[in-house]
């Protein structure tokens, strides 16, 4: 494919050095007598003012559900999709909620608890 456009791949100039071991990262810098920052200072309580967090909701205008996504693009759609898929699979057992992360243990626990509940009748 030639030309550029959304989705077209472009050979990156920097890849030549990354691929040949000539990329430089902070760990590669080693000056004589160089020191290392072992302790990073974090802000303390007295560095910050008192603050109050509130939310202001504005409906999205771009779709019928008026919903909006926030956060890193790749992480907006996939977690709800995965959780919905799990809940769909577990719906026949009466499972209505599962919290993330949906670990194998947690999914098993939900199945286990629902079958215990059903047996208890």
């Amino acid at each position: 494919m030639t030309g550029t456009g959304i989705g077209a791949s472009i050979k990156r100039v920097e890849d030549q050095r990354f691929l040949t071991g000539n990329g430089h990262y902070t760990d590669d810098i080693n000056r004589p007598g160089q020191g290392y920052a072992w302790i990073l200072r974090s802000p303390r309580a007295d560095d910050l003012p008192n603050f109050l967090v509130t939310t202001q909701s504005v409906m999205g205008a771009s779709n019928p559900l008026e919903v909006k996504g926030v956060g890193e693009v790749g992480a907006i759609g996939s977690p709800p999709a995965v959780v919905n898929a799990i809940l769909d699979a577990l719906a026949p057992l009466g499972v209505e909620d599962i919290s993330m992360p949906a670990t194998p243990n947690k999914v098993w626990q939900a199945i286990h608890d629902s079958s215990v509940r059903q047996a208890a009748g």
Partner: protein, 155 residues
């Protein structure tokens, strides 16, 4: 201090090092070959993979003294001048890297796979990369790169 000698990328090298010197320290600090990276330092991430006598290993979990006399290849030993090795070219062509930190280990690991299995399936590649972690790509283009690199090397 014991003297440790080996052949790295076709050149004989030798250095007086402490017994506790890891192979990756020997390469990076004594030979200045910083293309081999230390990611996790706990033999999980694979950024430090190099070839010793033709086989891939994690150089953060091997002492330099353990490979005394061996023949090594690191990421710096693959390209021929400005001409990339076919596996490196495949990574470039298929956008198999972003920040590039895991890339040397990925390429070295991929080459060990291809010499054992010249025509790997996608599943073979994914299973082989068990010990190479990438935080940028989601692996999709890395797998694609290795499959393309394998075909290029078959000629």
């Amino acid at each position: 201090m014991p003297t440790v000698s080996m052949t790295v990328n076709g050149k004989s090298v030798s250095a007086d090092v402490e017994s506790r010197t890891l192979l990756v320290q020997y390469l990076r600090e004594h030979l200045g070959l910083t293309g081999t990276h230390v990611g996790c330092d706990t033999s999980q991430c694979g950024a430090c993979v190099v070839h010793v006598n033709g086989e891939s290993l994690k150089s953060c979990t091997v002492l330099a003294a353990q490979v005394e006399g061996a023949d090594l290849t690191t990421i710096e030993g693959l390209a021929n001048g400005d001409e990339l090795h076919p596996m490196q070219e495949a990574f470039r062509e298929n956008h198999g890297l972003q920040c590039g930190f895991c890339t040397p280990g990925m390429v070295m690991s991929a080459l060990d796979l291809v010499q054992k299995n010249s025509d790997p399936s996608e599943q073979d590649v994914r299973e082989w990369l068990e010990g190479n972690l990438c935080r940028c790509t989601g692996y999709h283009n890395i797998v694609k790169s290795i499959l393309a690199g394998a075909q290029a090397l078959k000629g």
